[in-house]
């Protein structure tokens, strides 16, 4: 009823009020739309998936003696230690996804013969890209943790 009453009267202050209400509705609708779309973009990325987690602990640094290159096949990562520096190099071939294995000259892929040097750079075969390096960190409990979600620049080591 109040709405009908305002529509019959068309005095100057009433127009001001209409404007204000219209502006308010505009803010409300536009705001919800913006918030809604932002939230959609924000939440559309799943917080977890049901695969094996990409961040995992691999044990204490002592378990990897200096100079060793130990491949952990189930996790598809090779832990390289030089002196007191540690790094994690992907063992997934960049060609068709086979598991590469450490060799004397670096890594080699059993499927199509791709070869990589010790830092994972391609030295032969069909592989298009170098092997990825993953971020390694030391947890408070003293274990190394590899995060396959964050790729880092080739040659970046963690000092332990």
């Amino acid at each position: 009823m109040a709405v009908a009453a305002t529509e019959t009267k068309s005095t100057e202050p009433e127009i001001g009020r209409r404007r204000f209400l219209g502006w308010l509705s505009g803010v409300g609708i536009a705001g919800s739309a913006v918030l809604g779309s932002l939230a959609t973009f924000f939440f559309i990325r799943p917080r977890t998936t049901y695969g094996q987690p990409n961040r995992f602990k691999i044990g204490r640094p002592e378990e990897f003696p200096p100079g060793s290159r130990i491949a952990i096949d189930p996790k598809r990562v090779c832990i390289v230690r030089e002196g007191n520096k540690v790094a994690a190099i992907s063992t997934t071939c960049t060609h068709l996804g086979c598991i590469v294995s450490p060799s004397a000259t670096g890594f080699q892929c059993p499927c199509h013969g791709s070869r990589f040097d010790v830092d994972g750079n391609v030295t032969g075969g069909p592989a298009p890209k170098a092997l990825a390096w993953y971020a390694v960190s030391l947890t408070p409990s003293g274990e190394l943790e590899v995060d396959k979600d964050s790729e880092i620049q080739t040659g970046t080591y963690l000092s332990v």
Binding site: V3, L21, G22, S25, I29, F42, Y50, F56, S141
Partner: protein, 597 residues
């Protein structure tokens, strides 16, 4: 109109804003933020501080595949400091999981090394709970429909308070330790071992089957009971078997709380499959046909080799096999099963041996398990029981009733003695004058003297003199019946069934039985018809061969034609059954109980 639109649009804006805000303020996120802040305060290097600055709360999920079906666990989303030794004195959930040398954790070079690494074992393989949960209630399994609440920690809302009070403590987790640590003497599962001991000591193995442990058949199979039942049910069912299952025939064992706890933990550890077992081993176990020898049998057997005579051996066996956790012998009363004190005067060796081999061959509805023990043990125990012939001291009828009758018939004579609920058929209610006063005294005397076949009423003829029997009967009359014997009009009854036994007659009898009798006596004639639960005394089990064979045709005719006074059995003459109909029914009942010999 514009006002409404403005209000609605603002409400939507505020609402969606609140939703977004809420999503960034979940409990687990706040726990992680608190952890990051505290870790930063404790950080020693700038690099560490910088690395903490860029951290934002994330769902910490691990997938544990080593223990049965893969377990998805997000416990560390809240318990984020569980593996961070700096938080040993932190407040849950941001707290270090305790290190324990008893669980194999090792302290060396200034830090602890866990034996059961969380990345390998996860949390729920020891603690239970719901690994996927992200709120406390979900994750700890507080919802009453979640089958595995955290052992010894979480109590579900529908658990009875008096039961739930006993179910706290880390000890209950031994049930999960035992999934992998199956050795009997493993130090970490002492209560499981104790529970297992009780399972044999209290005679549970006689009724219940647990694959690879015992082979009883009376009670439910408990092989996977730990998977099917929660702690409250296990505890509550041991305390009072009829609390959850009103028709349960399981005896109520008198156990201390410590023993109940051990038994509950043992049962909770029975989960069928075990993560430490390969599929091949599991298959071999499931298809194994070897009847396991109960631990206690082996133990008892070795303990009694010293005994020379059969009788001495039998006495030791009766104690060793824990017969007295149910039966009464002298002053030791298990409170469940009949008194064996005068067994030598009540039964003969053949009866005892048959009854040992299969209790239901003599007492059809006995709840005693057929223990699969060596034949020699049965003979020795029979030999010992047959020596229980000591004469009774001189007693007044009241004392006689008190010492011999009251345990079943009750101190008030109402058939509700301390062990009455375990006897089927139930002891006679002696206060029911309508029944007692209408039966000829000779029959009552005969029942005492010769017992009642197929029931737990033993023949007292060798224990009591005729005068004593008359005295007890007079005492019962004065105390409980309190009525003069009623004179029954002479009834016209045949001494033997005039209808000849024939296939036709049996068939006619069955037809009438199915029409008239099954409501109470049941379609199987076992006394468990649909009306039977409302009737006391319960309708007779007409497949109780020992009883039916001991009863004359005349009594069957009388019961059917004229009914049984003081019970629900009506007079079927009034409902139009003729003498030949009754003859057919009697033939049908007899045909159900023909001995196979």
């Amino acid at each position: 109109m514009r006002l409404a639109l403005a209000v609605v649009s603002l409400v939507v804006l505020v609402g969606s804003g609140a939703l977004v805000y809420k999503e960034t303020q979940a409990t687990w996120q706040n726990h992680q933020k608190a952890y990051f802040a505290e870790a930063k305060a404790q950080a020693k290097t700038d690099a560490e501080r910088a690395s903490l600055d860029v951290k934002s709360p994330k769902i910490e999920q691990t997938i544990v595949t080593g223990f049965g079906a893969s377990r998805v666990e997000r416990c560390e989303s809240c318990h984020i400091a569980s593996d961070d030794p700096r938080f040993a004195s932190g407040k849950e959930p941001v707290r270090t999981h305790p290190y324990s040398a008893a669980m194999g954790d090792v302290y060396k070079d200034g830090h602890w090394e866990r034996k059961h690494k969380f990345s390998e074992f996860g949390c729920t393989s020891c603690h239970d709970g719901q690994g996927r949960g992200l709120t406390k209630a979900d994750a700890h399994g507080e919802d009453e429909y979640w089958p595995t609440p955290m052992l010894g920690y979480t109590v579900q809302a529908n658990w009875k308070r008096e039961i739930a009070g006993h179910l706290h403590g880390a000890d209950f987790m031994q049930a999960n330790c035992a999934q992998c640590h199956k050795e009997k003497n493993f130090a970490g599962t002492a209560l499981v071992a104790r529970g297992r001991e009780l399972f044999f000591k209290e005679g549970c193995f006689g009724c219940h089957r647990i694959q690879g442990v015992s082979s009883g058949t009376i009670g439910p199979d408990l092989t996977e009971v730990g998977k099917e039942r929660k702690l409250d049910y296990l505890w509550g069912h041991i305390v009072d078997p009829r609390a959850y299952t009103p028709t349960s025939v399981m005896p109520q064992f008198k156990l201390s709380d410590d023993d109940k706890k051990a038994l509950v933990i043992f049962l909770k550890s029975r989960r069928g499959t075990s993560p430490s077992e390969s599929p091949v081993e599991q298959y071999a176990r499931e298809t194994s046909t070897v009847t396991p020898v109960p631990d206690s049998v082996a133990e008892v057997q070795t303990a009694i080799t010293a005994a020379k005579t059969s009788v001495a051996r039998g006495e030791q066996l009766i104690n060793g096999y824990a017969c007295l956790s149910c039966h009464k012998l002298d002053d030791h009363d298990g409170g469940i099963s009949p008194d064996l004190t005068h067994e030598g005067l009540l039964r003969d060796p053949a009866w005892l041996m048959d009854h040992f081999r299969n209790p239901r061959s003599r007492i059809t509805d006995s709840n005693m398990p057929a223990f699969a023990l060596p034949e020699q043990d049965f003979q020795d125990m029979s030999a010992y029981l047959m020596t229980r012939t000591s004469a009774l001291p001189a007693m007044t009828p009241a004392q006689t009733y008190e010492s011999l009758c009251a345990r079943c018939h009750g101190e008030k004579g109402n058939g509700k003695g301390s062990n009455a609920i375990y006897l089927d058929p139930a002891p006679r209610d002696l206060t029911r004058a309508e029944f007692m006063a209408t039966k000829p005294r000779t029959r009552l005397v005969a029942s005492i003297q010769n017992g009642v076949s197929g029931t737990s009423m033993p023949p007292w003829g060798k224990t009591l003199t005729d005068a004593q029997i008359q005295g007890v009967l007079d005492y019962v009359w004065a105390q409980y019946v309190k009525e003069k014997p009623r004179q029954i009009k002479a009834r016209k009854l045949p001494d033997t069934n005039p209808v000849a036994m024939s296939a036709d007659s049996i068939h006619r009898g069955e037809t009438i039985f199915l029409q008239r009798c099954t409501g109470c006596h049941g379609r199987k004639a076992d006394g468990h018809g649909p009306n039977s639960i409302d009737i006391t005394p319960r309708p007779r089990n007409l497949t109780n061969a020992a009883f039916v064979q001991s009863v004359s045709d005349r009594r069957l005719f009388e019961s059917i034609e004229y009914g049984v006074d003081g019970t629900a059995m009506p007079s079927w003459i009034d409902y139009g059954l003729s003498q030949s109909d009754v003859g057919d029914i009697v033939n049908f009942i007899r045909s159900l109980n023909q001995s196979s010999k």
